[in-house]
């Protein structure tokens, strides 16, 4: 039953049923966090600076989540209060995580 399978075993399979909305939102939250860390590190190394870096991050993180929800999981947006509610999930924390990684890696690679 869906109660017994952990959300992570479902997260990597297509078109799962998400009875408890919070389960999908949890997956989105942690996925977004990982993406933010990776993109932050990448932007720091290249380096991608200025507004371009921020736009790149927003594009990738929102794009990936949108693609995951509507293409991979094919969820019914209305059940979750619209795509906007899903895109808002964990946004501030992930954005701060992106900035921290971006700043630290940028400083480490290009200023020491």
């Amino acid at each position: 039953t869906s109660m017994e399978t952990s959300i992570w075993s479902r997260a990597f399979k297509r078109q799962q049923k998400w009875e408890d909305k919070d389960d999908l939102l949890d997956v989105i939250y942690w996925m977004r966090l990982v993406v933010s860390i990776v993109v932050g590190i990448l932007c720091g190394i290249v380096p991608l600076t200025g507004i371009l870096g921020i736009v790149f991050y927003l594009g990738i993180s929102c794009g990936l989540i949108y693609a995951y929800c509507s293409i991979f999981q094919q969820i019914d947006e209305d059940e979750f209060g619209g795509m906007w509610e899903i895109l808002k999930e964990g946004f501030m924390t992930s954005f701060a995580m992106f900035l921290i990684n971006w700043i630290l890696i940028y400083t480490a690679c290009h200023f020491s």
Binding site: G50, A96, L99, I100, I103, L104, Y106, T107, F111
Partner: protein, 185 residues
Amino acid sequence: IHSKMLADAILIVAISICTALLSEGLSYVLLYRTEDYKRLKGVVEKQSKRLERKREVVGEGLARPSGQKKKLEKQEEQLKNYNRDLTMVRMKSMVVIGFTFTALLGMFNSIFDGRVVAKLPFVPFSLLQGISHRNLMGSDFTDCSFIFLYILCTMAIRENIQKFFGFGVSRTASKLGSNLVGPSK
């Protein structure tokens, strides 16, 4: 100067993690494990979920029979009261924690006064420069001050620490809580 900068930055991340852990630790001792808090939190969670389910069934903004509307309003009022009680219980420990961290932050601020702790890969817009360039010399706004890095770090990890330890509030409860408290704030 530059070699020290990275060491400073990493130290600040470590400080931020430690203070966030300390904050949650203090919250646990003073608040989370108290009977009052556990009881009120349980009640708020249950009531929020009940209210959310009722709203989904009845439908928002649609014409409802007046009996149901009254019942819903009564439950919203109840939730508002529970939320207010919860806030009161949190108040005491929040004051203690706030005081502790003001003191700690003041100490760190003076340690890092005038030090550039990182280089920003972007120029923050003018409103933010007051924070990001705080107590720094010169006009290179890609210089990062202690307080900016500290705040960003805290924003990045606090929610994660709360989720990790299970201290957070459920989405339903926080959404309804903010909806009910919002206008009167």
